[in-house]
């Protein structure tokens, strides 16, 4: 990724969701939105599920779960008898991942595409309520309220604010909070599709997922699949950050190699030695391995490379920063964001963060900490009510693998000078939405793949 530059001719022509931004760097109001995308289509639940199924749409909230399966699960529970409840649609725009800015960017640039997606899902499912969740204090809140009130949807969208904590936007936590409880995850089952808001079958989808759904309903599955890969069709919003010249949010065809995505940031600001993919609960990829930059951004390819797509973020770690020390900072952050409900997460995450910190400091304790770390990682992964501890374990494991050379030094009592370095990635919510990194020119035409 050294000496990477934006080459206007190589820009991927894959701008769908962020079209308003690339056209004139202004959000679309309702009139501009309708001019760009045409009127709101309508589809029944099964018709919609079929379209989405054919399009191969997978959730953009991190898991990549097939959206059609969730739609059908909620549709299957629609009222058949008197007294049963009509469905609820919840759009998850909280973006709990501190390194990610894609949902904020989308809600800023194309709010009506998200609101369309909510409206289409709500109408199709015959929903009684539609709720858009964003973080408390989010700077995009007021414009969003204005955009929502400009519409005349059959099921008006209610905007709810949720505390800005990492696990508060996990789907069961959202549901519990909307039901008047604390914003922390609950035990599944029941899943929201079975019993969610007000006890009703509830569709919880990421805002980007719903924006894609709005375009699929208009243009169809074949159009959607013209970009992306067979397993992950369509485009992805990716946050690129760290030691890059133009950090921000970009829209790329799914399956674009990591190197090409990073190129959109006009190259690094300084030498870079690793990339963190998938957010703070993701995994490091070393740039000493030439395969890293060729890895396509798909769930499967990143998993095979030892990382995850998760919430698509690529953070470039400057070579002057110690990967192990940065991992210790991130683990401390993740431990602090535990809801503290499940023992293995409440006690395990601080213990794992302590062990990595001991390794970083290279004290005599380092070897003992390293010895028990592998066992402790097995004790936290998969043992919480939500996937929060799994992400922390994944991050720690990847650090031991990718920074194996540094690890040896630390265990030998010779930590590098960077071991005392401060966190290089953001630890709290950004105060303003990340705007998409501007490209030199908006992409045009269709790239053949």
């Amino acid at each position: 990724m050294t000496n990477a530059r934006v080459d206007a001719d190589r820009l991927p022509p894959d701008v769908r969701l962020l079209a308003p931004w690339y056209a004139d760097q202004r959000p679309d109001d309702l009139a501009a939105h309708v001019r760009r995308h045409g009127p709101l289509p309508e589809a029944g639940a099964e018709e919609l599920a079929e379209l989405v199924d054919d399009a191969g749409l997978r959730g953009r909230g991190g898991s990549g779960f097939p959206t059609a399966v969730k739609l059908r699960a909620v549709a299957a529970r629609r009222p058949r008898r008197l007294g049963s409840r009509r469905a609820v649609v919840v759009a998850n725009g909280c973006e709990g991942e501190p390194a990610s800015g894609k949902d904020a960017a989308l809600l800023h640039c194309a709010p009506h595409l998200v609101l369309d997606g909510i409206a289409i899902a709500a109408t199709g499912l015959g929903a009684s309520e539609a709720i858009l969740c964003v973080h408390e204090g989010s700077p995009g809140l007021e414009p969003l309220r204005r955009h929502a009130s400009a519409r005349h949807d059959p099921v008006p969208v209610r905007i709810e604010t949720v505390p800005a904590r990492y696990v508060a936007s996990e789907e069961s936590a959202l549901v519990q909070y909307l039901n008047g409880g604390p914003p922390v995850p609950t035990t599944a089952p029941p899943r929201p599709a079975e019993r969610g808001v007000g006890g009703a079958p509830t569709l919880v989808d990421n805002v980007e997922t719903l924006a894609h759904l709005a375009l699929i309903a208009r243009h169809g599955p074949t159009w959607f699949r013209a970009l992306g890969t067979p397993d992950l069709p369509g485009t992805l919003l990716v946050t690129i950050g760290g030691a890059l010249r133009r950090p921000g949010v970009v829209e790329i065809a799914a399956g674009t190699p990591i190197g090409d995505v990073l190129d959109l940031a006009c190259g690094p600001t300084e030498p870079v030695h690793a990339v963190l993919s998938g957010g703070y609960g993701g995994a490091w990829l070393g740039l000493h391995d030439p395969a890293t930059l060729r890895t396509p951004l798909t769930h499967e390819a990143l998993r095979a490379a030892g990382s995850v797509l998760g919430v698509p973020t690529l953070l470039a770690l400057p070579a002057r920063a110690c990967g192990l020390a940065q991992t210790a900072h991130l683990l401390r952050y993740l431990a602090g964001e535990s809801a503290g409900q499940c023992g293995p997460c409440r006690f395990g995450l601080p213990a794992v963060a302590d062990d990595v910190a001991a390794i970083v400091h290279g004290t005599p304790e380092a070897r003992r900490a390293h010895g028990r770390l592998a066992r402790r990682l097995d004790l936290v992964a998969g043992r919480g009510a939500c996937a929060h501890p799994d992400g922390a374990a994944r991050l720690a494991r990847s650090a031991l693998r990718v920074f194996a050379q540094d690890l040896k030094q630390h265990l030998a009592g010779q930590p590098c000078r960077a071991a005392a370095g401060a966190p290089v990635f953001p630890m709290r919510e950004p105060s303003i939405p990340h705007l998409p990194a501007q490209r030199a020119r908006p992409g045009t035409g269709a790239r053949s793949r």
């Binding site: 023992g343 213990a351 066992r375 004790l379 998969g382 009510a385």
Partner: protein
């Protein structure tokens, strides 16, 4: 640090039977389950139960079933569930 107790790999794991699962939010680390069903339940260093597969056990054989039932009813926070497999043997 306390030593981790892990369940022994008994032949009962392979047999068909209901599975025990723990609700990690409800569990308060009383540890009774590990005392009553040591073949399937160990405790981690913080006192929380480790089942054969993280949050759920393998199939519990007929010989262990009374112990599993005892664990379910002994759990002070009702964190344990015994679920019967879908296909009857």
């Amino acid at each position: 640090m306390t030593r981790t107790r892990t369940p022994s790999r008994s032949a009962a794991h392979r047999r068909r039977g209901p599975q025990l699962s723990v609700d990690p939010i409800a569990c308060a680390a009383h540890g009774l389950c590990a005392d009553l069903l040591p073949d399937h339940v160990g405790l981690d260093e913080w006192g929380y139960p480790i089942l054969d597969h993280g949050r759920s056990s393998g199939p519990i054989g007929a010989d262990q079933l009374p112990h599993a039932r005892a664990a379910v009813s002994a759990c002070p926070t009702l964190a344990l569930r015994l679920d019967h497999p879908r296909d009857p043997s």
